[in-house]
C-alpha cells in the first residue's frame, strides 16, 4: 500500500455518537492519525448501545461503534479534572485539527474553546459540529438525528399524504458528516497555502436545511408549502415501490420518458391495458396513477424483486429492489465487485466487514483498519505521539487522569 493522502495529518477527536465519528472516519480512512479521546466515565453511546456481537454487551463489541470508528486510535482520559484538561491541551499542541460535536458552547465551558486552542497552537483548525451551531438562541439545545430531521423540514415531506409525517429515523446524521468533512478538508488546503488555521462553527441544522433548498425557494417565491407525497413524482409514472414475491419484498420502478414506457410495455409483452389511452402519455398516466399502480403491482407480485429489477434494467427501464441489510451485504454483486464492505479481523468480535469510503480515488484510495478497543492506544499515544516521559505517564495514571 502506498502513502495515504492524509498521512501526517494529526487529529484530536473529541466527537462521539454518530455525526462526529463518521466525520473523522473520513480522515482516518484516508490516512490521518486520528486519536479518539474517550472516557471510561462517559463511554461513547455506541460502545453501550446494541447491537453487540452475539448480543453480549461490551464496549468493544458494538456493531455500529466498530463500523464508524475504523482506523482511529483510542485513549481514555478523565476530562472532568483540571489535570485532564491540561492533558487535553497537550493534544491540541500536537494536533493539526481538533473536532467536537457537543451542543454549542460545551468546548468553551471545558476551557477548550477556539480562543484557548489558538493560544496553544495558532494555526489549529477547530471544527465544532453542534446541532444548532455555537451562536443564536437555540445554540446549546442538544438532540439526536431524528429530532434534527424534524426541525430541518425533512419529516414534513416524508411519508403518505393521508397520514401524519413519516418516521425517517436519524436522517440528518447522514447529511451532517459530509459538510463537516468537506469543510475540514477545504480548511486544510487553505492552511497549506496560507499558513492560517481557523474555527469552523458548523451547524448540522444549516447543512441539513440545504438538502431541501428547491422547496425552500418554492416557498420564498411562490408561497407554496411542500408536504409529503408518498412515492409520487411529478416527472414519472409508474413511480413507486411495487410488491414482489416473498415476504415484504419490493421493487422500485421509475418510468420517465415515452421511450421508457414503451420498453416497460414491451417487457410486459404489451397486455391490452397498456394500450388504453388513459396510460398513453405521462400526463394521462399521472391522472390515472392509482389504477396504473394496481396494474403494475399485479405484474410484479408473482415475480421475485431481483427478476423484476434485472428484466427491466436490461430493457433500459430504471428499477431496483428494496434491499435489506442481508441483500446489501451478501446479494449485491455490484457492491461485491467494488469491494465496498471490507473484511477485517477484530480482537473482540472476530471477522467483521465495515464499509469503505464511498469515493474511490484512483491514486490514493482509502484504507480501512479495524476500530480501536477502548483505551487501546494509551501507551503508544502518550509515549510516542505526545512524548510524555514514563514518570509523567505514571503520575497521570495514579491521579486517575489516564484511565
Amino acid at each position: 500500500m502506498g502513502k495515504l493522502p492524509l498521512e501526517g495529518i494529526k487529529v484530536a477527536d473529541f466527537t462521539w455518537v454518530w455525526t462526529g465519528p463518521t466525520t473523522t472516519k473520513v480522515l482516518a480512512d484516508f490516512g490521518a492519525t486520528v486519536v479518539k479521546i474517550e472516557s471510561d466515565k462517559r463511554l461513547d453511546v455506541w460502545r453501550i448501545q446494541p447491537p453487540f456481537k452475539d448480543d453480549v454487551p461490551g464496549p468493544d463489541r458494538g456493531a455500529i461503534f466498530n463500523s464508524i470508528n475504523t482506523g482511529k486510535l483510542s485513549v481514555t482520559i478523565d476530562l472532568s479534572q483540571p489535570k485532564g484538561k491540561e492533558l487535553a491541551k497537550k493534544f491540541v499542541a500536537w494536533a493539526d485539527i481538533v473536532t467536537d460535536n457537543y451542543a454549542g458552547g460545551a468546548m468553551e465551558r471545558m476551557g477548550l474553546g477556539y480562543e484557548a486552542l489558538k493560544e496553544i497552537k495558532p494555526d489549529i483548525i477547530m471544527m465544532s459540529s453542534a446541532l444548532m451551531g455555537q451562536t443564536g438562541p437555540w445554540h446549546d439545545s442538544p438532540g439526536y438525528g431524528d429530532q434534527l430531521s424534524a426541525i430541518s423540514g425533512l419529516h414534513e415531506i416524508s411519508g403518505w399524504p393521508d397520514r401524519i409525517p413519516g418516521e425517517i429515523g436519524f436522517y440528518t446524521d447522514f447529511i451532517a458528516p459530509r459538510f463537516n468533512a468537506l469543510t475540514i478538508l477545504a480548511a486544510l488546503d487553505y492552511r497549506r497555502r496560507t499558513g492560517k488555521g481557523q474555527y469552523l462553527d458548523i451547524a448540522q441544522h444549516q447543512g441539513s436545511v440545504h438538502f431541501i433548498a428547491p422547496i425552500l425557494l418554492d416557498y420564498a417565491v411562490n408561497k407554496r408549502v411542500a408536504t409529503r407525497q408518498g412515492n409520487l413524482d411529478d416527472y414519472a409514472a409508474p413511480h413507486g415501490c411495487y410488491r414482489c414475491q416473498g415476504e415484504d419484498r419490493w421493487c422500485a420502478i421509475v418510468v420517465r420518458t415515452d421511450e421508457e414506457w414503451q420498453s416497460f410495455c414491451d417487457v410486459l409483452r404489451n397486455p391490452a391495458w397498456t394500450k388504453d389511452p388513459k396510460f398513453a402519455t405521462l400526463k394521462s398516466r399521472k391522472e390515472n396513477e392509482d389504477e396504473l399502480n394496481k396494474m403494475v403491482d399485479e405484474w410484479t407480485s408473482n415475480q421475485s424483486d431481483e427478476d423484476v429489477m434485472v428484466t427491466l434494467q436490461s430493457a433500459g427501464v430504471p428499477a431496483g429492489r428494496v434491499g435489506n441489510t442481508e441483500d446489501q451485504m451478501e446479494n449485491d454483486p455490484h457492491l461485491k465487485f467494488r469491494n465496498f464492505y471490507q473484511e477485517r479481523e477484530h480482537p473482540e468480535i472476530g471477522k467483521y466487514r465495515p464499509p469503505r469510503q464511498p469515493c474511490v480515488l484512483s491514486k490514493t484510495p482509502c484504507e480501512i483498519k479495524r476500530a480501536p478497543l477502548i483505551g487501546e492506544h494509551n501507551e503508544y499515544v502518550f509515549k510516542e505521539l505526545l512524548c510524555l516521559t514514563d514518570e509523567e505517564i505514571e503520575e497521570l495514571i495514579i491521579d486517575g487522569i489516564i484511565q
Binding site: 493522502p5 473520513v26 447491537p51 452475539d54 456493531a63 463500523s67 437555540w138 439545545s141 442538544p142 424534524a150 426541525i151 425533512l154 419529516h155 414534513e156 411519508g159 403518505w160 397520514r163 409525517p165 425517517i168 436522517y171 468533512a181 468537506l182 469543510t183 478538508l185 477545504a186 486544510l188 488546503d189 487553505y190 497549506r192 481557523q198 474555527y199 469552523l200 462553527d201 440545504h210 428547491p214 422547496i215 418554492d218 420564498a220 411542500a226 408518498g230 412515492n231 414519472a236 413507486g240 422500485a252 433500459g316 431496483g320 429492489r321 434491499g323 441489510t325 446489501q328 454483486p333 455490484h334 457492491l335 465487485f337 467494488r338 467483521y352 466487514r353 464511498p358 474511490v360 480515488l361
Partner: protein, 413 residues
C-alpha cells in the same frame, strides 16, 4: 454580489459538466470560493426543465431547482461532442483544477476526455465522476433515478421507516440521493486536492451514489446474521413519538431513567404550571419508568393529557418552551417555519440573492456554518443560458468575436 475572494477555494477553477446528479458538488465548491464554470449543452442543461418554477412559469430560465443548485457558478454553452467544441473544452482543461461530470460511465472516454486524456493535458487536474453506480462493476450501466438509488443504496434505511402496511417510501420532492452524491463528491475532491497539494499529481475520483447513500448500519446482519423486519419494535408498548399540536406536529417522547430529565420531567413540570397535568402524572416516578416494564394503560393515561396540552400550543410556542424548560422537543418544521426560525435568523443563514432579469430578490439558504477566516457565501445567482460565453470565450480564451459568431451559428456554443 461580489466575488468570494476570501473563500477557502478561491485559487481554483472548476469545470462543471454535471446534470442533476452532480450539480450540488459545483454549487458547494462555488460557495467556498472556487471559480466554477457550468458548461451546458447549447440550449441549456436538462436540469433546467425540473420544477418548481418561478411563479410557476415553466421556462428553462425560471427553474427554482436549477437556481438552488447552481449558485456561485458562471455559465457557458458548449457542445463537447463536436470536434471544435472538444478542442475548446481541452483548452479550458489546461487551466482547470477540477472537472466534474456525471455522464454514463465510458462516455467521457469515448469523446477522448477520459481521465487518461485529461491527465495528459493537465497532470494536476482532478476529475470527479458522479454516477449512480460508479465507473466499474456489473451494474455500472443500470439507470439510477432517485427512487432506484434509494432502493439499491438506502433500502435497509427505507425499511426502517413507518407504515409497514404500505410500500417503502422515499423522502418526497427532489432527489435526496443526488444531494448526497454531490456533497460526498466534494469530500473526495478535497482529499484529492490535499494530495495534489503535497505531490502535484491529480487523479480520478469515482463517486457512486449507491455507495454514498448506503447509510444504514449493516452491523447486526454482519455480526449476528439478523435482519430487522419492517415495523418491528423492540418495546412491548405503543408510545407516541410524533404528536399533533395546534398547528402541526412536534417530536418528543416519554422517557424514564437518566434521560427523563431531558424529556418527561421538564415537560410535565411545564404542564403542571399550566394546570394540564393531573396529580398522578405530577407525582410519577420517572426514575423507575421504562418502556420495557410499563403497561399500555399507563402510557395511554400519560399520553391523553399530553395530547391535550400540545393541542393548546403552536409549534413555535412548544419550541420556545423546549428551550426555556430544557426539554428535548423539536417541531416538525415546514418550509414556512424554517423561514420564521429565530435560530436561523440569528445565525445569518438566509441570503437574499438578486435576480435582476426577473426584477426581484430571492431568499436562499446560505452557509452551513461560520468559518472564522473563510466564509462560504453565495457569490452570484445561477447563470442564465450562455451568460458568460463572451466573458470566458472572448476575454479569457481570446476567441475573436467573429469566430464566436461562427461557433454559435454552427451550434457549438
Amino acid at each position: 454580489m461580489t466575488e468570494n475572494e476570501d473563500g477557502m477555494l478561491s485559487p481554483y477553477r472548476v469545470l462543471d459538466l454535471t446534470d442533476e446528479k452532480g450539480l450540488f458538488c459545483g454549487k458547494l465548491l462555488g460557495d467556498m470560493g472556487a471559480d466554477v464554470i457550468k458548461i451546458e449543452k447549447p440550449g441549456g442543461d436538462s436540469a433546467r426543465n425540473i420544477g418548481p418554477y418561478y411563479h410557476d412559469e415553466v421556462d428553462p430560465e425560471k427553474s427554482l431547482y436549477w437556481f438552488a443548485l447552481n449558485t456561485s457558478k458562471r455559465g457557458i454553452t458548449l457542445d463537447i461532442e463536436k470536434p471544435e467544441g472538444l478542442e475548446i473544452f481541452k483548452k479550458l482543461v489546461k487551466t482547470a483544477d477540477f472537472v466534474l461530470e456525471s455522464f454514463p460511465p465510458g462516455y467521457m472516454d469515448k469523446l477522448g476526455l477520459g481521465y487518461s486524456d485529461l491527465e495528459k493535458l493537465n497532470p494536476g487536474v482532478i476529475m470527479v465522476s458522479i454516477t449512480p453506480f460508479g465507473q466499474t462493476g456489473p451494474r455500472k450501466d443500470f439507470k439510477g433515478p432517485d427512487l432506484v438509488m434509494w432502493a439499491l443504496g438506502a433500502g435497509p434505511f427505507m425499511r426502517s421507516f413507518d407504515s409497514p402496511d404500505r410500500p417503502p417510501f422515499r423522502i418526497s420532492h427532489h432527489p435526496q440521493t443526488y444531494m448526497h452524491g454531490g456533497a460526498e463528491a466534494v469530500v473526495g475532491a478535497m482529499v484529492a486536492l490535499y494530495h495534489r497539494g503535497t505531490t502535484g499529481e491529480g487523479q480520478h475520483v469515482d463517486v457512486s451514489i449507491q455507495e454514498c447513500v448506503n447509510w444504514h448500519p449493516t452491523g447486526d446482519w454482519d455480526l449476528n446474521k439478523r435482519v430487522q423486519k419492517r415495523g418491528a419494535t423492540l418495546i412491548p408498548v405503543r408510545v407516541t413519538h410524533i404528536w399533533p399540536c395546534k398547528d402541526g406536529y412536534v417530536m418528543w417522547r416519554y422517557t424514564g431513567g437518566p434521560m427523563a430529565k431531558r424529556h418527561s420531567i421538564p415537560l410535565v413540570n411545564w404542564m403542571v404550571e399550566e394546570g394540564m397535568a393531573d396529580d398522578w402524572l405530577k407525582n410519577f416516578d420517572w426514575e423507575k419508568f421504562s418502556h420495557y416494564k410499563t403497561t399500555q394503560e399507563i402510557i395511554d393515561r400519560m399520553e391523553e393529557q399530553t395530547v391535550n396540552f400540545f393541542m393548546t400550543h403552536t409549534k413555535a410556542e412548544l419550541m420556545a418552551g423546549a428551550i426555556k424548560y430544557r426539554i428535548m422537543l423539536y417541531p416538525i418544521s415546514s418550509t414556512v417555519d424554517l423561514f420564521e426560525s429565530p435560530q436561523l435568523a440569528a445565525r445569518g443563514f438566509w441570503t437574499d440573492v438578486e435576480h435582476p432579469e426577473l426584477g426581484t430578490t430571492i431568499r436562499y439558504p446560505g452557509s452551513w456554518g461560520k468559518n472564522s477566516e473563510t466564509p462560504a457565501v453565495i457569490s452570484r445567482r445561477a447563470p442564465l443560458i450562455g451568460e458568460h460565453n463572451q466573458e470566458i470565450y472572448e476575454k479569457e480564451l481570446g476567441i475573436s468575436g467573429e469566430s464566436l459568431q461562427k461557433l454559435t451559428q454552427d451550434g457549438i456554443i
